[in-house]
């Protein structure tokens, strides 16, 4: 059972240190979704913050923000701050989930067909 993992009592302090005191995602990370795929576009460099390095390593193949958060044990907001650094430096690329396009028009039929045939193969 993947129940909620309680953060340790000093969790907030740890996050404060990790993010250099920055809160909430801003700029390039403000549109990050839990299903956004992150892909590394550069290798880790010496002296890089451990968490940044870890993100680059784990995202050699595309990985969702939600999976990254689960693997690194970081809440969404904190991870978004770290991802913003990497996005701004061009070290990762973010691919938002393909949206249900425009209100009233719904997602593209070809995409739905693709999802449907994938599900039918399960």
């Amino acid at each position: 059972m993947s129940g909620p993992r309680r953060t340790d009592p000093s969790g907030l302090e740890r996050y404060y240190v990790l993010t250099g005191g920055r809160s909430g995602p801003g700029g390039s990370a403000s549109t990050l979704d839990v299903a956004t795929l992150i892909v590394s576009r550069a290798a880790a460099v010496p002296g890089m913050q451990h968490e940044h390095e870890e993100i680059l390593r784990r995202c050699r193949d595309p990985l969702s923000v939600a999976e990254l958060g689960a693997h690194l044990g970081l809440p969404f907001n904190i991870l978004a701050v770290l991802l913003a650094d990497l996005l701004d430096a061009g070290r990762v690329e973010a691919r938002d989930p393909i949206p249900a396009s425009g209100v009233g028009s719904g997602p593209d039929l070809a995409l739905l067909e693709e999802v449907l045939s994938g599900l039918q193969r399960l």
Binding site: G3, G11, G24, A35, R41, F76, E113
Partner: protein
């Protein structure tokens, strides 16, 4: 496939994999986590948000480290659709009042499955209202528990006030094929909606 935003498509080494997401909503104890678990290719994971982080500015965090945190978690799983496409399934938190915490949790979702326990219809009212309010297309999945009474679907449609075009299907969330069939019902529903939208253009 949409490659919008790729400045250097030739640099892609991963084939440009993209994602889509589907939300699994419903009241507390209706089987959301069970469904995510039964149909996921990976062992389901949990991602978290801490309420204090979301609601307080950093300045306010100093000195509140001993404050009681509310951790809200989101169970999720994934299904590889093909080499280029991954479907993520997110079970919404039981406490609907926390749904605002994630950057548009429902925004960008293809649609949602709203799980209903027919023994406790009212527990899913809030989830249905929320889908309607946020204009998220959905199907209703009646999770059949061993002691569930056999209710005619139309009776349940009336009781939940579900419009005629919204599918209602029965399922066993513990069963992979049954849960997959609910997802198939959702995608078919989305296709119909898209087709109708195209015709009426």
């Amino acid at each position: 496939m949409d490659f919008k935003g790729f400045d250097h498509p030739d640099r892609q080494t991963d084939g440009g994999t993209r994602s889509v997401k589907v939300m699994i909503a419903g009241g507390f104890g209706t089987g959301k986590t069970t469904m995510v678990r039964s149909v996921s290719d990976i062992k389901p994971l949990t991602t978290e948000e801490t309420l204090t982080q979301a609601s307080a500015d950093v300045d306010n965090l100093i000195g509140v480290a001993d404050k009681q945190e509310t951790t809200v978690s989101l169970d999720f799983g994934k299904i590889g659709i093909n080499d280029q496409l991954v479907l993520y399934l997110f079970g919404t938190p039981g406490q609907e009042r926390f749904w605002f915490l994630w950057n548009g949790l429902f925004k960008g979702a293809l649609g949602a499955v709203v799980l209903v326990d027919t023994r406790r219809l009212a527990s899913s009212f809030r989830a249905i209202e929320e889908m309607e309010r946020q204009d998220v297309p959905f199907v209703i999945a009646l999770n059949v528990f061993p002691d569930s009474k056999d209710h005619p679907i139309e009776e349940i449609r009336d009781a939940l006030d579900i419009p005629p075009h919204t599918p209602i299907v029965a399922c066993d969330a513990r069963d992979r094929t049954s849960s997959r069939d609910v997802l198939i019902a959702l995608i078919r529903h989305l296709k119909e909606r898209s087709a109708v939208a195209l015709e009426s253009r």
